[in-house]
Symmetry: none
Subunit: 417 residues, 2 copies
């Protein structure tokens, strides 16, 4: 069974935007044992879109479309799929009423163009969209004598994903032979990709029925293992075996075995060890706090902290003595230490982490004027002992901030091992 994914939208043919829905859809299709053979990205032109749908129906058993279901005149997916299948479009009164209610509930006027979202292709099943106004559509059709499964899905990922999961996957599973995919993922940070590959390749190459992919980016290395078997138990056993073997080789470098992010792992470990955490962030400006608080229930262990960007805020929020700043500069071991110790006392957490550094050329004055861009100090304290780490990170402002935050979280993780 081959699938084609068509991403619709002229914005996806500009240098600014990229189709990302297809990655999510591919993962779901692979789980069902379906291979994606083609992806097409096409703009909001009637002719181009209709012919792309026709080509896809010719060469793929399953065709998933994302985007082009909105209210504007550019939204042509409904029309074009109907045209390619030689089926009429029908306006659904129930959908129209629902749309009307949606707008009324928000005290908004429903403009005429919104009515188009109530059009569906004759014979299609409407796939309700709880997170947006345009529903999806599901079709099982015969095209040139061949059976085709077709889904029209809205473009916004928050709308597409739940519809695909709850409406399309069960329908696909029912139509396909039983196939089960198991995945495992190992994540490491702050090590070169080539080192990970050199150490793990001799192991994973022994598992010829497991597909291994190494991804590197954002200061992380991910090893993805996947395997398809007639039963889930068989597939699971294989990916587990390879993940265990590689994991033994990599030891403590592996921070995650099931896809958790570094911040999730750190929060988990803090909870298990009955610790609480505060942070004082200078050059990262809230990035570490933002990452930790993006995780549900982080408030059980993460108490808060200071965005200690200016000298005054370092003193006012984390009690850093101003003579320390005058003497050593804000980007110094002494200030990193004082930030961590000060914020811990102030917030009353058991542990505290601080970051101070130079993320880009610009404003540092005083003692910091001669220090290089990329110089970062981290400190981690439990009130009795304070560890300090000096880093020299190269690259852009964004990269320096990202790597500084990553080093800080990794320092904390290793402390908690």
């Amino acid at each position: 069974m081959l699938a084609e994914i068509i991403a619709v939208g002229s914005e996806l043919l500009t240098p600014y935007r990229q189709d990302t829905n297809s990655l999510y859809l591919t993962a779901g299709l692979n789980e069902l044992g379906v291979t994606v053979a083609f992806k097409t990205i096409v703009g909001d032109q009637r002719e181009h879109l209709a012919s792309s749908v026709e080509i896809a129906l010719t060469r793929a058993d399953i065709v998933l479309l994302s985007g082009g279901l909105g209210p504007t005149e550019d939204d042509l997916t409904r029309e074009c799929v109907a045209q390619a299948l030689h089926l009429p479009l029908e306006r659904d009164q129930l959908l129209l009423d629902e749309l009307q209610q949606r707008f009324s509930a928000r005290n908004l006027q429903m403009t005429e163009n919104n009515r188009r979202q109530a059009d569906h292709i004759h014979g299609s099943t409407i796939l309700p969209n709880r997170n947006g106004s345009a529903p999806g559509q599901w079709l099982e059709v015969t095209f040139n004598g061949r059976r085709r499964l077709v889904a029209l899905l809205p473009g916004p990922p928050a709308e597409l994903q739940p519809i695909f999961d709850s409406e399309c996957k069960p329908r696909l599973a029912a139509a396909l032979p039983p196939n089960h995919l198991a995945r495992r993922q190992l994540r490491m940070t702050l090590i070169p990709e080539s080192h990970v590959d050199a150490r793990s390749a001799p192991i994973y190459k022994r598992f010829s029925d497991v597909q291994t992919t190494i991804l590197a980016g954002n200061a992380e290395i991910q090893l993805h293992f996947s395997c398809v078997k007639p039963t889930l138990a068989e597939a699971e056993a294989r990916v587990e075996a390879v993940a265990d073997a590689v994991s033994r080789e990599m030891g403590d470098d592996v921070f995650s075995w099931s896809g958790e992010s570094l911040e999730e792992v750190v929060l988990l470990m803090l909870g298990v060890r009955h610790h609480t955490l505060a942070v004082a962030e200078s050059c990262t400006g809230g990035l570490i706090g933002q990452r930790l608080t993006s995780i549900p229930n982080s408030s059980r262990v993460f108490l808060g902290g200071a965005i200690a960007y200016s000298n005054r805020s370092k003193t006012a929020l984390a009690d850093v003595p101003s003579y320390l700043i005058d003497e050593h500069g804000t980007v110094s071991e002494a200030v990193a230490r004082a930030l961590a110790e000060g914020i811990r006392r102030r917030i009353g957490s058991s542990l505290a982490l601080s970051v101070t550094g130079i993320a880009g050329p610009g404003t540092p004055g005083g003692r910091d004027a001669q220090k290089p861009v990329g110089l970062v100090y981290l400190a981690l304290t439990d009130g009795k002992e304070t560890q300090v780490k000096e880093l020299n990170i190269h690259g852009s402002r964004e990269r320096i901030r990202l790597w500084a935050a990553q080093h800080a979280l990794e320092m904390l993780r290793r402390r908690l091992l």
Copy 2:
């Protein structure tokens, strides 16, 4: 002139990897006045690739292929383009010698499969690759009576980009009428896309020579205008005219005219008005600080603030009286107000912004236990007057945090108008 970009490689059809070369190629093509009409992503299967090339040659004037030029048996781009064009492949002795030298210089044995990198399509121009072993190829051919420009480029971006810039762009420019592209961009936030479209479409539709794209996402609406003309001045005049006209219609809703982000605009306005800013973030946990400090030189106006996640941190960092929390709950108008006023006094900024809200189900206790997920209070103070805003944001934890931060920055921007 329409172009199609074909990205070749089975790894691009997995859930983990994405074609990014096409963004770079699209920017270059657009500069020459060429629109990308289709992107196709296809794996390393002979039949699939050859038929994709044929389809592209049928519907596009310019076909750029990336990937599939390496030495392995999976690398089929040369063969498949030759097949689609009914042209023979020829082994180039000069290229073969160069390859041989490359290997000798590194003390490596050249394996047989590497010889395939010396194959070129009859009539093609070889495009030298300084950063890798597989050269590109350039073809100007007639396909079904129509002129077609075709380039085969290696997959690694570090190889593809210099070849495209130095070898393909001059050839494309010579083959195309003189064309210049101008772009303009208007950005708005927190308004429904359909409203922006309803108000702006009657205007931008009068400019039939300007291409308009509406992008919505992350609580933002972007209107992109682009126009291609024989001279840059003409193109600039057209995009400026449409941007001005739409901008007049949308009024203060437009926060950016040249692509600046909301945080950049806010920092700029704070600077112009000689203001400084502090923040106290509860449910956004550092997100606003992180966004502001991601901008170079933000320290001139952004002084820092509190990640006031726990009750204790609200009191310890922003002097929120604990009786207020007991009486009203942390997610309340009173606490939002106290957070903003407290952090302003503590940091000594002229303005301060606070956010407190419920980003997800979980930990709120006391007075907050009955409050709905998505309830958020913002406060903005200048020390004399404090504005407070209540929001009800629906959706995921991530969405609630993003929209809360966006509302806070927009509240500040409107205050500074």
